[in-house]
């Protein structure tokens, strides 16, 4: 069973570490805590039994609440083997920047440097389309092919 916890963005690892410490020898069965890079503001808690997310062990600084219900394991699997993102991105793809100074901006892929794992983008909302080069794991695919 996988449960999701909301955290302050940027505090995912810290929250995971504190919860990891809290659950140790607490009787709460937590088997792992996952912090996927592409899921900002969330951490995922894995257990083989049903756990009460209202337990004080989960109420740690920068924790913003637990999500009702469970997350299917199949959905979580996608986060486990992050393929080199560039395998699924192509020239013309629309992507979102997930880290760096342009975080949150949407961009169009201009060129891909497969060997160096770099990708050249053009920010969609920029007044002047300046090419920006980022690492492949700094982007999230929104639309594979441009319309």
């Amino acid at each position: 069973m996988i449960y999701a916890i909301r955290t302050l963005v940027g505090q995912e690892k810290n929250v995971a570490r504190i919860i990891g410490r809290n659950v140790k020898n607490s009787g709460i069965e937590v088997n792992s805590i996952l912090v996927p890079e592409s899921l900002r503001g969330y951490i995922l808690v894995e257990s083989t039994s049903k756990i009460d997310m209202q337990n004080p062990a989960f109420k740690v600084p920068h924790m913003k609440g637990a999500i009702e219900g469970e997350i299917p394991y199949d959905e979580v699997k996608n986060f486990l083997n992050p393929e080199p993102i560039l395998a699924s991105v192509q020239k013309g793809s629309i992507v979102e920047l997930i880290s760096g100074p342009f975080k949150g901006e949407k961009a169009k892929v201009v060129r891909i440097d497969e060997s160096k794992e770099d990708v050249v983008l053009e920010l969609i909302e920029a007044a002047v389309p300046i090419p920006v080069t980022v690492k492949g794991d700094q982007i999230r695919l929104i639309q594979k092919e441009a319309d």
Partner: protein, 60 residues
């Protein structure tokens, strides 16, 4: 403190070399996993992790 990840077992460490795999660790990693109980964790099994600890999901 700069955390680095083993390029083979993905374990996170401060050392420049993974003590288990005896290969260089990398600063270039992403994703984060705390394995509490590797025997019961489906995620740890999926990733072939058999020791508790902190891991990166992706290392290059």
């Amino acid at each position: 403190m700069v955390l680095k990840a083993c390029t083979r077992c993905h374990r996170l460490m401060e050392e420049d070399r993974c003590a288990i795999c005896n290969i260089a660790s990398s600063r270039n990693w992403s994703g984060f996993l705390i394995v509490v109980d590797p025997d019961k964790s489906d995620i740890a099994k999926e990733l072939n992790i058999s020791l508790p600890g902190e891991y990166a999901l992706r290392v290059r």
